[in-house]
C-alpha cells in the first residue's frame, strides 16, 4: 500500500501507526544501502537507527518534490557516510585508495572463493566500497559521489574501476565452478 499524503501528515503529527507504515514500506530499501556501505552488521543496525531518526525528524521538510523513497534514500546515504566519517572509516579514504591495489595483491583468490557479492563488497576498502555501492547499486553519478565523499570525479572513477576489478577477481570462483551460477543464481550468490 503506498504511503499517501494523509499518512505523511499523520506521521509528521507523530502518529505512530503512520510512522510504522512508512518504515515498513521503505526500511528494506533504506536499510539495504546502509548495510552495503557498512562492513559491520552491528554498526549498520546502529546507523540505520540514526538514519530513521533523521528521516522522521526531517519529515516536516519533505516537500514532495521527489519520490519519498528517493528523498529518504538520500538521507540514508548522507547519514551513513557521515557516521562512517565520524568513526574514521571514511577518513582513511585517501590512504585506502592508495593502498587498495596493494590490498588486492595481498589477498589470495582462495580466501574469497566462498564469498558472496555482499561478502566480497566487505573486502573492498571503505572508500572503494562506498564508490561502488553508490555508483553501481544506488545509481549516483561520479560527480555526486565526489561531492558526497569529498573526492574528485576522476578519483571516483578510479575507485570504481579498482572496485570492479577486485570484485571480478573475488567472485571469479563463480565462473570457475559453474559459468551459470553467476548468471542464473537466485539473488544472493551461492557459496561454492
Amino acid at each position: 500500500m503506498p504511503f499517501d499524503q494523509l499518512d505523511l501528515k499523520r506521521a509528521i503529527a507523530g502518529d505512530e501507526r503512520a510512522m510504522q507504515r512508512l518504515w515498513s514500506q521503505h526500511a528494506p530499501h533504506i536499510d539495504a544501502v546502509v548495510r552495503r556501505l557498512c562492513d559491520d552488521s552491528e554498526l549498520a543496525a546502529d546507523i540505520s537507527q540514526e538514519v530513521w531518526m533523521q528521516i522522521f525528524r526531517a519529515l516536516p521538510s519533505y516537500r514532495g518534490d521527489s519520490q519519498f523513497g528517493t528523498w529518504a534514500h538520500r538521507i540514508a546515504v548522507n547519514r551513513t557516510l557521515n557516521a562512517l566519517r565520524k568513526i574514521r572509516r571514511i577518513a582513511k579514504l585517501e590512504v585506502d585508495i592508495e593502498d587498495d591495489s596493494a590490498m588486492t595483491e595481498q589477498d589470495t583468490d582462495r580466501t574469497f572463493v566462498a564469498e558472496s557479492i555482499e561478502q566480497a563488497m566487505r573486502k573492498l576498502s571503505p572508500g572503494a566500497r562506498a564508490v561502488f555501492v553508490l555508483h553501481d547499486i544506488e545509481g549516483y553519478t561520479h560527480g555526486e559521489i565526489g561531492e558526497e565523499l569529498g573526492i574528485t570525479s576522476g578519483g571516483s572513477k578510479s575507485q570504481l574501476f579498482k572496485a570492479r576489478a577486485k570484485l571480478k577477481k573475488l567472485l571469479s570462483h563463480l565462473v570457475d565452478e559453474s559459468s551459470t551460477v553467476a548468471v542464473k543464481g537466485k539473488g544472493h550468490v551461492a557459496s561454492v
Binding site: 505512530e16 537507527q49 583468490d109 570492479r164 570484485l167 571480478k168 570462483h173 563463480l174
Partner: protein, 211 residues
Amino acid sequence: MSHLSEEQLDHIIAQERSREQPPLNEWRTIAARAREEGLIRETQASRWWTSNRPWLQSAAAVLLMIGGIAIGRATIALPSAVQSTASNPTAAVATVGTTSTASSNQSTVSPSGNATFASVDAASAALKEAVSQYQRASEFLAVSNGSPAMRDSVAMYSARAAALDKIENATVSALQTAPHDPVINQYYLATMGARVATQQQLVQPVGLRGF
C-alpha cells in the same frame, strides 16, 4: 583462474540491487527512540482511546438500554395505554400510573424466532413497525424512571440529556459509516426519541414531570 566478465559482474550487481533484505532493526526499537525524542506523540494512543471512549461508553449505554428493554419486554409487557401515548410523553406521564395493570395486547412484533416473511417488503414493514415501537418504548422509558431517589430531579434529566447527546453523536458518526444499516438507524431513532422526550421533561413544570 578466470575472472568474471563485465557483463557477468553487472548481472550479479543487478541481482544485488534488486535483492530485498529484512530491516536492520525492529520497529519497536525505532519507535522507542522516536518516542524518546518526542517524534511520536505519546498521547496519540491514549488520545485515540480517550477520544473514542465516549463513543464506546455511548455504545455501551445503547446496548444496556436495548438489553434492559429486551429484558423488560420479556418479563412484563408494556401497557397498551402507554404505547398509544408514548409518542406524546406528557400524555404518557399522565397515564403511566393508571395503566400498570393493563394487559399486553399492544404488541405487534412477533417473536423473532417465529417470524416468517413472505417478501422483503413484508420484512421491511415489520422492521419499520418494530423500530417505531421501539422508539415509542424508548421515549416512554426516557420519561419514566423507577428510581424514587431520582424522582423529579432536574439533575437526572440534565444528565440523561447530556448522555443522550453523546449517544446521538456516536450514532450520527456510526450512520456516516453505515448510513443504511437498519440496526444503526434504529439506535439513532431511539436515541433521538428519548432525547426529545427528555428535553420536554426538562421544560415541564415540576409537578408535571414523570412520576
